[in-house]
Symmetry: C2
Subunit: 215 residues, 2 copies
């Protein structure tokens, strides 16, 4: 199966999906888009993904899949090994909750189109955008750190000693934070896990600077 990944090197949701594909050992062709110039707003691209967002996964049969977490859950169901979710329902709920803390509480508030909207609606300059971005990272990373330190399930990674969906989301978010130079010092457990993830080729290969369209 050769999949086509329509994506952008710096997109956090694209980084998630690249890491998950790498972890599953699934090959893909890399199709880059420049978000700032509207390459995902063309009629041709909107036919693939009506939201005009990245990533979109194109399958051999010509169908398209959207929303990074929906695609990763599909990968988990169709390529079960190595597992990105624990086997037990409680563990799965914990991993998904950690994942959604990032996917539903940080990333949606901080992506490029939101920063553009802040600029357009509220004249938010780079400094105001950084305050906004940092506020949402801090709010949720404080709680994420607490969730990690208060649970015996936390291991080398967010849940045990093999990487899960939560690590995929965390790794991509830490990369996203670098856009505004947010250091990890306030969150030692997150920092430790990020460093461990960065040692894994599946993650390191998914990092923005390693992509063909990296500036």
């Amino acid at each position: 199966m050769t999949l086509k990944l329509h994506n952008f090197f710096r997109s956090s949701t694209s980084t998630r999906l690249r890491a998950a594909l790498n972890l599953k050992g699934v090959d893909f062709d890399y199709i880059p888009y420049v978000l700032r110039t509207g390459e995902t707003r063309t009629p041709e691209y909107l036919a693939k993904n009506p939201q005009g967002l990245v990533p979109t996964l194109e399958r051999e049969d010509g169908t398209f899949m959207t929303q990074s977490l929906a695609i990763i859950e599909w990968l988990e169901e169709t390529h079960p090994e190595p597992a990105l979710l624990p086997k037990d329902a409680d563990g799965r709920a914990r991993v998904r909750a950690l994942s959604y803390m990032i996917a539903c509480e940080i990333h949606p508030l901080n992506n490029l189109r939101v920063l553009f909207r802040l600029r357009d609606q509220f004249d938010a300059d780079e400094e105001a955008q950084k305050d906004w971005f940092t506020h949402w990272v801090t709010t949720t990373f404080d709680a994420f750190e607490a969730a990690l330190t208060h649970s015996a399930d936390t291991g080398t990674y967010c849940h045990g000693d093999t990487p899960t969906l939560a690590d995929v989301c965390l790794y991509a978010q830490v990369w996203n934070n670098k856009r505004f130079g947010i250091p990890l010092d306030p969150w030692p457990t997150i920092a430790r896990i990020y460093a461990a993830l960065d040692q894994l080729p599946a993650f390191a290969k998914a990092a923005p600077p390693q992509q063909p369209d990296a500036a």
Copy 2:
């Protein structure tokens, strides 16, 4: 099993979880919190949910679950019938993608703490907040409507003729839209599905005005 649902009548994520619990036929005790007065920011509540958000599901064994979608996936795994996700991997991916369009692209941008932040950081008044809120609803509902109309999988509800996770998210979002009086006219398929959902007791019972803490 008697579960305790820590929640707030108008919270969209609480509405999602109430609808899912109702659909699964799982009883719960309703524990209301007033968000505006900080009742979810107390040390006692933060010990239940380090994010200080609703909903939190408290189980009989005294453990707590957070993040509405993680809890609903757990419900699906532990109470499989009636199913809120299709049996086939492609269908599951479609339902999850529709769900995340709302859960990751609309709701996170429009909840109360975000509106408060807009007010505090950018002096956004009620009118500016409404513009912001409406912008994100419109952006994603346009794409959601397209995703529904372009797929043969759309039925009485978002996916086929039984309600799924996507309907749970959609129903809660339409209720949330009422806060700013956003009419559904631009999205006839969404309007049709919402009306159908509102006929189902599991959904109607989960609606904000039906809750004990409704103003």
